[in-house]
Amino acid sequence: MGKFYYNQVQDSYDAIVVGTGISGGWAAKELCEKGLKTLVLERGRMVKHIEDYETANMDDWDFPNGGQPTQEDLAKQEKQSRTGYTTNAASKMWFVNDLEHPYNEKQRFDWMRGYHVGGRSLQWGRQSYRWSDIDFTANRNEGIAVDWPVRYKDIAPWYEKVETYIGISGEALNLPQLPDSIFTPQMDLNCVEEVFKQKVAEGFDGRTVTIGRVAHITGDKKFEGNGRQPCQYRNRCIRGCPFGAYFSSLSSTLPAAEATGNMTLRPDSIVHEVLYDPDTKRATGVKVIDRVTKETHEFKAKVIFLCASSIASTAILMQSKSDRFPNGMGNDSDQLGRNVMDHQLGVGASGKFDGFKDKYYKGRRPNGVYVPRFRNLGGASDMPDYKRGFGYQGGASRGNWEELVAETSYGKDLKEAILKPGEWTMGIQGFGEVLPYEENRFTLDYEKLDGWGLPTVTFDAGFKENELNMRKDMMQSAVDMLEKSGVRDVEPYDKETALGLGIHEMGTARMGRDRRTSVLNGNNQLHDVPNVYVTDGAFMTSANCVNPSLTYMAFTARAAEHAANELKKGNV
């Protein structure tokens, strides 16, 4: 029957949560805390907090080849390695084997997946930002896609609830386009970054530089979970943190669910279909294939939460075919699989900074500078050739020994030079909004099945004019700001890239006001099957330019309360 954790297997449950990542962990916590007997199904292997973070304390010399991936490694993770860093020795075990999890690309799509208990909440970048009404109303104001069925005031209390529970470190700025979170003390900028901040404020109207807003514990406030402690500035987060210092399902939300006594967790459980009863017009449960044994199971529940990650949750709906829903559950609108979005990056600039030769930092800060969006906010900020906007992430560091090389190309002097900190460099990379396009979509290929007999995903989505025009500005604005700050030899870059590389893939089951043009309503319920909720990135109706996980958590907590209330009222 496979291993069930924390509870015995039951005949049926109040709720099933599919997925244990950023949103799944929150669904598990909230539903369990509201008294629902909840079965949490994760397709990947079990992971125990701290115990299973095998590389957490290793140094560079503890890995062969300084941690660089070997050709043998890359053969198994060709697509995952397109990020250029996630498949290094320290973290490769947290990203899928592409040979076991193939997908198809009509246009290049870089699909990064972490299939294990905790999901990508173990590997995420921890950057956390709220949306504003500028974002929620953009589609309506510009006549693009469909209107969001919610506004900032609906979500603000849930951002607050999430932030109070997990801890977000940052600087309050009172910017209309980037509402403040409830903050714990911010991390410091270093010397060069302080200059950058000052010069950008002086040299450009309406632009700000701040420290990144991150889900790390700073300051004295205690945060609940599994023994969470303040950040130790090791910057080894992607490996899993023995201090639980950043938010993850393993350090924070799953322990809360476990503590209620209402959670049953079954890893190695690949959910591939939601079952439908045409008489009650409700979902009744899910079908599972065991990852290891390939045995099939069915589990029953009154409420289903799909939190498997955007593409996966939508794929489950697509595979949930019935007489009522021949094109996938809840898909009368034909919007399932469409409007796939991400953030575009791989464009920016960097250069060298003279000065502060006698200054250095201590600690490896797991964070960088953040430049909030300053374009298309009205007035002089409006751009003639693209809509929406972008932010920047980046920072300064010492490590450039090549400056000294002309005089000291080898030998004693070179040796001395490389043992010193090196010269300062500073760079920033843009994160830009990608619009929803109906034709940017994925479909399922039933001719190419995976190792579990399930159809594989085929992506057909790409950047279009708005994105490409925005990119030019992303590059030039980076150059302008760095040069204004005294950075010299500024080199711009605009790398060949694709959707997916932002690792913020979202959309494909968008929420909206009208069931003819959207899949979900404003409560994250399928319009047509009210006891199915989708609260991972699939629900996103537009993408904004900020890292989305905080928003997924807030919507999930809100939807869980809705679901619990509906259950109590007997509506689902």
Partner: protein, 207 residues
């Protein structure tokens, strides 16, 4: 020490020293990627780049093993071919100039005579070289059979070698823990502190 593999490098007490006719000590090392002769030249080359001072040299921290393994496991086929080609051009020049036939017998002086000029290149020329190398690699990717100027090949080899030597040196356990400033768990972040106070002028070993 860091790399416990099937390498037959012995510790100094067990070293099998073979005196060649030029009275040079030769270590017994069978590289995985390089030939025996290339390996012998490599050990000398890394120590020209990072010689022994009051701190161990590159070979003493097994950088030559690092590079051999890196070339064997991390480089893809095209990179390996380029590495071999450019190393061959480099050694050819050293052999021609010194009159020494066997690459394994080239002395440190013979090798430095080629390495020095290869690395002491103006910024302008460096840019030109990188452009030529890029064009060469692009042609290779198109399955053409391009030629690269011998001097630029030697530069490419020397430049790559220096980069790998520095990487291997700085990520070696000895240098990481005993030479650079080793602080696995900082506990704090100080953004703008005094270099001398924080590390006595040294770089942090973990980045």
């Amino acid at each position: 020490m860091g790399l416990a593999l099937g390498y037959t490098v012995a510790t100094p007490t067990l070293i099998s020293i073979m005196q060649s006719c030029k009275n040079e000590t030769v270590l017994e090392w069978t590289p995985d990627f390089f030939t025996q002769d290339e390996g012998a030249a490599l050990i000398k080359l890394v120590d020209i780049i990072i010689p022994k001072t009051d701190i161990p040299s590159a070979s003493e921290t097994q950088v030559h093993l690092f590079i051999d393994r890196f070339a064997n496991e991390v480089m893809d086929e095209k990179q390996q071919k380029f590495w071999k080609m450019s190393f061959a051009r480099f050694l050819e020049k050293a052999q021609t100039d010194s009159g020494e036939d066997k690459a394994g017998n080239l002395t440190a002086e013979n090798l430095e005579a080629v390495l020095g000029p290869a690395l002491k290149v103006t910024k302008e020329d460096q840019t030109k070289n990188f452009k030529a190398i890029q064009q060469y690699n692009e042609a290779i990717a198109e399955d053409e059979k391009p030629l690269l100027d011998d001097g630029i090949s030697r530069f490419a080899f020397a430049n790559n070698l220096r980069g790998l030597t520095i990487m291997g040196y700085k990520t070696s356990e000895f240098v990481g823990e005993e030479v650079l400033e080793y602080l696995p768990v900082p506990g704090v972040y100080i953004g703008c502190g005094d270099l001398q106070e924080l590390t006595g002028g040294k770089a942090w070993s973990i980045s």
